[in-house]
């Protein structure tokens, strides 16, 4: 999985707890280059949390997220059998299984399965185990701030910086992070504003813009970073109905240009038209995953059928 160059995002068995509520309960997801993955689900199902775990705005409690073969989260030892095998617990469990009469050759697998199934790892598992985790991190971990540069994110509430005008909103991050010179950034910003038909808003402050304008500029702001993948968190949910169209058409244009996209949305029409894959998230898990044709015409999950009958 790590060596496949086409895989941009790989989420592996992600769990997310907020205090005591389990919001994500083991979600795995792969996003390939150029794919448009649309995530739908009822509110509270965990779909936004899933999206936010991809760029660690919400940190996964368990599980790992990879970007282009680089680890964004902490190491989850349960995903690495060789690391588990270095733990004190592994030795103890193996010992116990041996006494219970498990045969020698099944011992290793049985011990690891037992540790995984019963969540037996403790915080202190010895020096060799600790060292293995550190080395794995050193070899694979990518600083999250660097990773986020290539993962654009568009929010439900736009989140343009209120204390900056449109131009500064767009150029602040790429200039501050020394990804481009100020002159180049301004040039690029002007180009993007022309592309979204808002060239005259360059000096405007966010408070003077309509919702649709804000969201289009928020998308342009993300594009300033030349992201490899764009994450959309219900980008049209806070908009007046007559402004939904302009944002969706910009997103469609972006999709056609080949951008890799992960979109959480309630816009079924968009999903049908643009998605290469649609996921249905229910109760913290991916309940169904299919091509849009199959997904909408032939849903298998009963909860999805119920959901679709309500929204379509």
């Amino acid at each position: 999985m790590i060596n496949d160059n086409n895989v941009i995002i790989h989420a592996d068995n992600v769990y997310k707890n907020f205090h005591k509520t389990e919001v994500l309960k083991g979600v795995s997801l792969e996003v390939k280059k150029g794919e448009k993955v649309v995530i739908i689900g009822a509110s509270g199902s965990g779909k936004s949390t899933l999206l936010r775990c991809l760029n660690s705005l919400d940190e996964a409690t368990y599980g790992e997220v990879w970007l282009h073969g680089k680890l964004l989260t902490a190491v989850d030892p349960y995903l690495h059998r060789d690391i588990i095998a270095l733990s004190h617990t592994y030795a103890a469990v193996k010992e116990r299984l041996l006494q219970e009469g498990v045969s020698e050759d099944a011992l290793h697998d049985r011990a690891i399965e037992k540790i995984k199934a019963e969540d037996l790892l403790k915080s202190n598992e010895g020096a060799a185990y600790k060292k293995a985790i550190k080395e794995f991190e050193k070899a694979n971990r990518l600083d999250i701030n660097v990773a986020r540069r290539s993962m654009g994110m568009v929010f439900q509430n736009f989140n343009l910086f209120h204390n900056m005008n449109v131009l500064d909103n767009m150029i602040y991050a790429p200039v501050k992070l020394k990804l481009m010179t100020k002159e180049d950034a301004i040039e690029k910003a002007k180009g993007l504003l022309t592309r979204i038909n808002l060239p005259d808003k360059i000096d405007a402050y966010p408070s003077s813009l309509s919702g649709g304008q804000k969201q289009r500029i928020a998308i342009a702001r993300s594009l300033m970073m030349n992201p490899e993948v764009m994450l959309f968190d219900e980008p049209t949910s806070a908009l007046d109905p007559e402004m939904v169209g302009e944002v969706l058409s910009l997103m469609k244009e972006l999709a056609e240009s080949g951008m890799t996209m992960v979109v959480v949305t309630h816009e079924m029409g968009f999903a049908r038209e643009v998605a290469s894959r649609v996921l249905f998230v229910n109760d913290g898990k991916i309940a169904e995953e299919n091509t849009p044709e199959e997904f909408f015409s032939n849903p298998k999950d009963s909860r999805l059928r119920e959901f679709l009958s309500k929204v379509l």
């Binding site: 760029n55 705005l57 701030n145 660097v146 990773a147 986020r148 540069r149 993962m151 654009g152 994110m153 929010f155 509430n157 989140n159 343009l160 910086f161 209120h162 204390n163 900056m164 005008n165 602040y172 991050a173 501050k176 992070l177 405007a204 402050y205 408070s207 003077s208 928020a218 702001r221 993300s222 970073m225």
Partner: protein, 237 residues
């Protein structure tokens, strides 16, 4: 009788403003008051911002736990004990060094005191900024500190200015207790002016000094309004 008192009042005021010795006394007091107020305000704002940032910092990082604890103790103690007592402790215990200028001690005492109140104001201001602003900054790859300094704090400050203005006004007037540690500020000037060796009447000098305080506070209020208006410029356009 009434006429003679009121005539005496205005005559005394005229005397204060025409006598070089009396004017110098007021000038000296004014200088001390302004020096302590400005120094303490600068120190207080700096300290307040620092403490507010520490208190708001990421609760998960372990090495911030100690600074956060210290800041908590600081605001609790400073806000929980009288200003005069803090001034005494600093003057007669901490900086009880021969030759150490009491004015500096006073600046430090008022700065530390003001910082505790300012930090709470700033903290509230930072928390009033929508969480989405931080998330948008972080999602672009900016660090927590970069997002805080350039996006969150500028927006929070706008909401904090009125409260900080209040705190500065209170600070200026509170410096009137420095005469308790032997400093010659505006209030002390009034007292000395009114004593038997000088005018032998307290009413007029007290009124004159009151007007000075009033003028300083009025000027400050005006300044704060201008600053607030500048910061809110982005809201209106």
């Amino acid at each position: 009788m009434t006429t003679s008192i009121s005539a005496g009042f205005f005559e005394t005021i005229a005397l204060i403003f025409s006598n070089e010795k009396y004017l110098l006394m007021i000038w000296e007091g004014l200088q001390t008051t302004l020096l302590i107020s400005l120094g303490a305000a600068a120190l207080g704002l700096l300290l307040g911002l620092l403490v507010a940032i520490v208190k708001i910092s990421n609760s998960k990082s372990k090495w911030m736990a100690v600074p956060r604890f210290i800041c908590g103790v600081y605001t609790t103690i400073i806000r929980g004990t009288p200003m005069a007592l803090q001034l005494f402790i600093l003057t007669f215990v901490v900086f009880a060094i021969r030759g150490f200028p009491t004015t500096v001690t006073a600046i430090i005492a008022f700065g530390i005191n003001s910082g505790a109140y300012v930090s709470e104001n700033i903290r509230a201001g930072i928390l009033s900024v929508d969480k989405g602003q931080t998330e948008a900054g972080r999602a672009l790859g900016l660090s927590g500190a970069q997002t805080m300094m350039k996006i969150v704090i500028p927006q929070g400050m706008k909401n904090v200015i009125p409260a900080i203005g209040n705190e500065l006004i209170a600070l200026i007037k509170e410096t009137s207790i420095v005469s308790m540690v032997g400093l010659f500020d505006l209030t002390q000037a009034a007292k000395v002016l009114g004593s038997g060796q000088n005018l032998a009447t307290y009413f007029a000098p007290m009124m004159v000094v009151a007007l000075f305080y009033l003028a300083i506070v009025y000027l400050l209020t005006w300044l704060i309004k201008i600053i607030e208006g500048r910061l809110r410029a982005g809201d209106k356009r």
